[in-house]
């Protein structure tokens, strides 16, 4: 067989055998037509496009391990006497939920491993969603037409956190009960309706006897079903919109350059599933997580030092720890804000601003076009800086949530940490904003310099009078396109002045709105560097082409020199 011949699949022995069953299925399901289109669906290639996949695959692992756990977990708060094999708790009264969790951990083969994989997968699920969301945010992938998919993503993140928290509460150990108590506090802190809500959710006073069965229903049925539906919608929209891509040779806003679903992404994504599963299995096997037996059964009168929520709830824990006491007396009643503002308000602000951001940005920029090419973070300095500020505030909250562990491990004063972070919550994000914005603008300038002055070849010329200079070579067109492909010319803000009234003295009814928007536009584009104009480029290429002062002209195939000074292609 020569190199360029191949056997068509229908002529191969396997193909001949499969023709019957496959034809049978196609007649009934119409697979060929659907498959022909979708199996050849093209996806672009980049490592950052696989971050959402980590979340997807850890969700699959969660479903698999979760099914195993439901076989033995008993979601009941009925009191039983523990007689299992964990000796230090022998004979202790506890809920059936906790006893069955101990049984899964100690008396059911593979149970502890499954529990640990499940828990690690839950932590990974939320972490991967956030990393994926940050990628989408910093590359502007949420812009038209993907705003709805962005909002679905925000919903998935919020639901993922609730789902994780419900799971964290199920074992009914001292730690999970303390976490539940925290959320009970959040619910009760809601003005007016708080205590009614608490009684509604807990079926009476905390902890009652029905919260675990209720959370169990939410954890294994209600929320996973919604999550599955939303994930389905998320993926369908991804296929419908087609995946965004980085600007590069041959890539435009109208096409997608990449590899087909079958066989390339089938193999890559399938392989990645096993890598994620393998990672989680290794972590579950090697690193202890949530040793429920160490905490003991939940008892509202007990607590353990170092009680923390899982990391994704750390933000609200931290904000509550940072909040100074604050309460007011209105209508002869005490209204306390110390829990409501940081706990409920903090998460509320986070998710509201996330969900609304695409629309806010669109209102500021007035950009109504579709975007299928990703924007490099440096080319939207204010967006990138806002993202960095948001991450900073989030991390401050997370650190505050673990302030006792930090104080203990680093020998610090817990009050000192709290005070630094109280101010830091407002100061650090501003610093992060300024620094990030300046870095972005510097990188933009660097890009412009590379575009106009070419790239550094590594070839050093010595002039007759002894001076040294590095020679620059013009950037290949493909590289220049990659740098400018998704950069848009900045609007001319000066030309958009808003007037209070027109030339005839007629008052502008929308003046306030328009001038506010004008201010936001100035803020958004402030300092941003425009990409070089064609005039700049012509001027630069003239300069680069005029190799008069260079003794040897670099050929078109010149690709720079190696570290030892030898041209790479010669």
């Amino acid at each position: 067989m020569s190199q360029n011949t191949f056997t068509r699949v229908e002529d191969s022995p396997t193909g001949k055998k499969l023709a019957g069953p496959v034809g049978w299925l196609d007649d009934r399901l119409g697979l060929a037509a659907a498959g022909k289109k979708n199996l050849r669906k093209v996806f672009p290639e980049h490592w950052s496009f696989m971050l959402g996949e980590i979340a997807l695959w850890s969700f699959v692992v969660l479903l698999l391990t979760g099914v195993f756990l439901t076989l033995w977990f008993d979601p009941s708060m009925a009191e039983v006497e523990y007689t299992g094999s964990y000796a230090p708790l022998y004979g202790i009264d506890m809920s059936a939920a906790y006893a069955s969790t101990l049984d899964i951990s100690f008396d059911i083969r593979g149970g502890l491993l499954m529990r640990q994989i499940h828990h690690w997968a839950a932590l990974l699920f939320v972490a991967a969603m956030i990393v994926h969301m940050l990628r989408v945010f910093f590359t502007g992938a949420y812009r038209k037409p993907r705003e709805i998919n962005w909002m679905i993503g925000v919903g998935l993140l919020a639901l993922g956190m609730v789902e994780g928290f419900a799971g964290y509460s199920l074992p009914d150990d001292l730690l999970s009960g303390t976490g539940l108590r925290f959320v009970d506090g959040l619910i009760r802190s809601i003005p007016l309706v708080g205590s009614y809500l608490e009684f509604f959710i807990f079926g009476g006073e905390f902890p009652g006897e029905i919260i675990i069965p209720r959370l169990y229903m939410a954890h294994i049925l209600l929320i996973p079903a919604i999550l599955l539906g939303l994930i389905g919608a998320h993926m369908l929209l991804l296929v419908y919109h087609k995946h965004t891509q980085w600007p590069g040779a041959g890539r435009t806003n109208e096409n997608v350059v990449g590899y087909p679903m079958l066989p390339v992404y089938m193999a890559k994504a399938g392989g990645f599933f096993f890598i994620v599963f393998g990672f989680l299995a290794l972590m579950g096997a090697l690193i202890q997580i949530n040793p429920v037996w160490a905490y003991g059964p939940y008892n509202p009168s007990e607590v353990t030092a170092g009680s923390q929520p899982d990391w994704y709830m750390g933000l609200s824990e931290g904000l509550v720890r940072l909040m100074p006491p604050l309460e007011t007396t209105w209508f002869n009643r005490t209204w306390t804000w110390s829990v409501f503002l940081p706990g409920v308000g903090g998460l509320g602000v986070l998710f509201t601003s996330l969900a609304l951001w695409p629309f806010i940005e669109r209102w500021i920029t007035g950009d109504t076009r579709e975007h299928h090419l990703l924007e490099r973070p440096r080319n939207a300095p204010v967006r990138t800086a806002l993202g960095a500020a948001g991450i900073t505030a989030y991390v401050v909250g997370l650190i505050a949530g673990g302030n006792d562990i930090i104080a203990l491990k680093f020998g610090l004063d817990i009050f000192a940490i709290t005070w630094v972070l109280r101010f830091g919550l407002f100061i650090f994000p501003v610093i992060a904003f300024i620094v990030t914005k300046r870095i972005c603008i510097s990188l933009q300038r660097k890009d412009n310099e590379t575009l106009t002055h070419g790239w550094e070849t590594g070839v050093i010329d010595r002039s007759p009078d002894g001076g040294y200079a590095e020679r620059h070579a013009p950037l290949p067109d493909t590289a220049a396109y990659a740098l400018t492909g998704s950069r848009e010319r900045l609007p001319e803000l000066e030309a958009e002045t808003v007037h209070k009234s027109d030339a005839y003295g007629v008052r502008n009814p929308d003046y306030r709105k328009q001038s506010f928007r004008q201010k936001m536009r100035k803020f958004y584009y402030d300092g941003s560097v425009d990409k070089p104009t064609s005039h700049d480029m012509d001027h630069a290429s003239e300069h680069l082409a005029g190799g008069g002062e260079h003794p040897v002209v670099l050929g078109d195939d010149f690709q720079g020199v190696s570290e030892t000074g030898v041209p790479r292609v010669h």
């Binding site: 708790l89 890598i275 003991g296 607590v303 006792d404």
Partner: protein, 268 residues
């Protein structure tokens, strides 16, 4: 040179003279209890009195009634158990003023500590050091251990953490870890309430309860770490660190690896 020799001779003579005049340190075997108390007093005057006062009455700092504080607390009535805990864990003498005396290297020999304990015990009645019988936690049965666990969770975990890993307290203070702490020192800490710790007298927790608590702590700490490498009993903060560093860090690494490799479209 001559001057130097003279100086050396003078030093030698002074040393020899001091050795003959100075009182000999008493040892536990040879000394009667009276001489042990006296030896303890001598040690106390040298090593402890600067903070606790020459007669162990404590030193209060000057100031108005609200501002006056303890430079060193009175030791009258603290008993031998307090001395044993503080000195055998190296907490006393303190190296410098600090929010809390940390556990550190023990500076006194066992005999010297016994002497100081005898001296402090002689000042007024106070808790004595626990007997071997009271410390014999190995003899506690299954029910006793889990009962000790109940006491531990009710009274101790709020500060010391459910596996005794320790916890932070306000203003730079902390509940220290219970890992590697001798049974006698856990017992004495409960009995005397050192530093930030409350006193759990024998009326609150009977000697048997105390022994059960020690049995629970020791059992939990000696059992294998089920489930793999533990986060030091620090709970979800360590887990969060692991999932970001190992989980996200490692899998992003794999993403880059997969993303770097295109396809082999050419037939070989």
């Amino acid at each position: 040179m001559a001057l130097l020799a003279l100086l050396a001779l003078a030093l030698l003579l002074t040393g020899a003279a001091y050795a003959t005049v100075a009182p000999e340190t008493a040892t536990a075997e040879s000394a009667s209890s009276v001489s042990e108390v006296e030896a303890g007093r001598q040690l106390f005057v040298v090593g402890c009195a600067s903070c606790h006062g020459l007669n162990a009455q404590g030193i209060t700092t000057a100031g108005d009634e609200d501002e006056a504080g303890n430079y060193g607390p009175s030791l009258i009535g603290v008993g031998a158990a307090a001395v044993g805990f503080q000195m055998e864990t190296g907490r006393m003498p303190m190296a410098q003023t600090a929010p809390q005396a940390p556990r550190k290297h023990v500076e006194y020999t066992q005999d010297e500590i016994n002497q100081i304990a005898a001296y402090v015990a002689s000042l007024a009645p106070g808790p004595a050091r626990p007997s071997d019988e009271e410390l014999n936690w190995q003899s506690v049965d299954k029910e006793g251990i889990s009962e000790g666990g109940e006491f531990f969770r009710t009274n101790c975990t709020a500060c010391h953490n459910s596996v005794g890993a320790g916890g932070a307290l306000p203003s730079g203070r902390y509940a220290p870890t219970l890992k590697g702490v001798d049974a006698i020192h856990i017992y004495e800490a409960m009995l005397t309430g050192p530093q930030q710790m409350p006193v759990f007298s024998d009326e609150v927790l009977t000697p048997e309860d105390k022994r059960n608590i020690i049995a629970y702590v020791k059992t939990v700490q000696q059992q294998g770490n089920d489930g793999g490498l533990g986060g030091g009993g620090l709970g979800p903060v360590a887990d969060g660190l692991f999932i970001w560093l190992i989980g996200i860090g490692g899998l992003v690494g794999f993403s880059v690896w997969i993303g770097m490799h295109g396809t082999r479209s050419k037939k070989r």
